[in-house]
Symmetry: C2
């Protein structure tokens, strides 16, 4: 486990939580671990002791779970700036999913559970920031749940793409999404053939898919197609960029 | 708003968070408000300033949202022991849904936002407890999302009933669920006619529905029908009672 290349954290690492709380890594002995992991590497398994909180610096990680009767579901797809393994914030907790690298050379930072819990106990502003992150996470999961009934499959795929465009509100954007079709379909709560149909439908709003590359030719047009069927319209992270 | 009958908090109020942190209400001037609200009363509206964190002492509350194109979705159904309005934990936040009473004489406790944020800043153990609650909420939303693809509609209804049985692991239980069919269906992510079919299917595991009363004749049998298709099988709150 964690057999990726180990580096000490360098100053080039950029993640909102580390930028706001430089003491988070400065105070740790040994320093927070920076890891570069190859595709398919298992970061941790469902049920493992939650020993670290993880930040994605660059790349892609899938979070998966299995049911006793053998169904697998993708409960998360994490990329640049995302956090996973929040169970590490709590004593004696286990990870509630398996985390596996899906992008080549994915760069991660692991924050040891004991260190971060100690810092949270000492710094009320950090605990407030972490609570806000947890609350945001709940909001995202609830919204995804709601969108299963208020949005078409093509709109849900469009929403996923808008989030990847992050703060960019208009113009064009080329996205690289090295995620296999059945993984992305499971994450979006649809069958692979529905995902294919949805990709085709998005052509009408100038989105073209070529393998793992997705070209969003007109972000504003895609928003018009998607956001009218979303109760967060006007207040989601992606839309705040609109000001 | 909040036109329910106002009472000061009496010692008979029972909620885990209040039991663990009696100082939460003891320290507040004026005391935490205890409210008994009638059916259909709007507790707050989507977008209102999040001025209080709410606890359900007894009764039922629905949390709903609307999309710009007019679709309504039920994002939460809260009953005894549930918490809602977590946005109040954060400065300058708004409620991300409308909360409305659906059970007659629903008893609530409102914890003023400023008070609870002040206490969290002073008491690291309270902040850890609140973080754990927020994390649990995220886990529940993610699990519900996953169950949309791993479980049948009848299993999802069964899971909802098992949660209402709380810590009871076997034997029978009579549940009173004063929730209209279209509301419950929306919450469970299915159409009203699918909910009717699911109720019918649960007869085979000895669950009988009579209006708003649901008789679970054999909790263990219902668990066998439901939990094998759930990745949390063996570790969900309801199952911990099994020891």
């Amino acid at each position: 486990m964690n057999s990726g290349y180990l580096h000490s954290v360098s100053s080039i690492i950029s993640h909102p939580l580390l930028e706001e709380y430089p003491a988070l890594w400065a105070s740790t002995q040994p320093p927070l671990r920076r890891l570069i992991m190859a595709r398919d590497h298992h970061i941790f398994m469902h049920g493992d002791t939650a020993s670290s909180l993880w930040l994605v610096i660059s790349g892609w990680v899938k979070l998966i779970r299995q049911t006793p009767d053998g169904k697998e579901s993708v409960v998360g797809l994490c990329t640049d700036g995302d956090m996973f393994g929040e169970a590490a914030l709590f004593a004696h907790a286990n990870y509630p999913y398996t985390a596996q690298v899906i992008g080549n050379d994915t760069e991660l930072v692991a924050m040891p559970s004991a260190t971060i819990r100690d810092m949270i106990a000492k710094d009320p502003s950090l605990s407030a920031r972490i609570m806000a992150l947890l609350n945001e996470r709940t909001g995202q999961a609830q919204l995804k749940l709601e969108q299963q009934s208020t949005m078409s499959a093509a709109q849900r795929l469009g929403c996923f793409l808008i989030r990847l465009c992050q703060t960019q509100a208009s113009g064009e954007r080329l996205l690289r999404i090295p995620v296999e079709k059945h993984i992305l379909a499971s994450y979006l709560g649809m069958k692979p053939e529905t995902l294919s149909r949805s990709q085709h439908q998005l052509k009408s709003v100038h989105v073209t898919v070529d393998g793992h590359e997705v070209m969003v030719n007109d972000i504003e047009k895609l928003r018009q197609f998607v956001c009218n069927s979303c109760s967060q319209s006007g207040s989601c992270d992606a839309e705040e960029a609109l000001g």
